[in-house]
Amino acid sequence: MTTRISIQTHDFDVNAEIAALTEGRSDIGAVVTFSGLVRGDDSLTAMTLEHYPGMTEREIAAHVAEAEGRWPLLGVTVIHRVGRLLPGARIVLVAVASSHRGAAFAAAEFLMDYLKTRAPFWKEEERAGDTRWVEARASDDDAAKRWR
């Protein structure tokens, strides 16, 4: 299985990432992508993402390996941006390729639930000059518990 994990400040192109997963092969029947975007709720003006270099890649790779053990996957790409992002900007991409759609949907949702609760990223929100660290949400923990 091809795996690509990237922590980066720059934006990504979903079509290009799908093409990279599927290029030159004809055994892939399904590609599911999840794109997470910065929401401008409650007059949010910007968001800054911090991460733990080294641990982040390691943690994501472990979850990709776990997904690969659970479903018959043919390729996984995880891109997570860090740094300062404005409302509407893309934050994260999970793309999963498989022969059939069930596995691709399940693995993409699994990876997102685990990214939310285990990958060492932290978000600081800016509102009218004020900054505030985002609190973890119990609903994300509940979502991740589904897979245990």
Partner: protein, 83 residues
């Protein structure tokens, strides 16, 4: 040992990383946190409530009872909020 801090833990401590010699009486994460809390100032604030903190040893999630050694990289941070 290397200590690393993220998010508001980093801000309260006032540094993202520091090296300290492991004190003789410290054998677990919980004891390390208590040792740091006792330093007062920003440390006291950052470690005021263990329940608000998470820890990783050598870049893997760990529990509060996990053993620590002087060769470890120990990270303290709030619950993660990525994705």
């Amino acid at each position: 040992m290397t200590l690393v801090y993220f998010a508001w833990v980093r801000q309260k401590v006032g540094a993202g990383e520091e090296r300290i010699a492991l004190p003789a009486e410290v054998t677990t994460v919980a004891e390390l946190a208590a040792f740091l809390r006792a330093k007062g100032g920003g440390y006291a604030e950052a470690f005021a409530d263990d329940k608000r903190l998470r820890v990783a040893i050598n870049q893997e999630h760990a529990g509060w009872d996990a053993p620590v050694t002087d060769a470890d990289e120990i990270a303290f941070f709030p619950p993660v909020t990525g994705g």
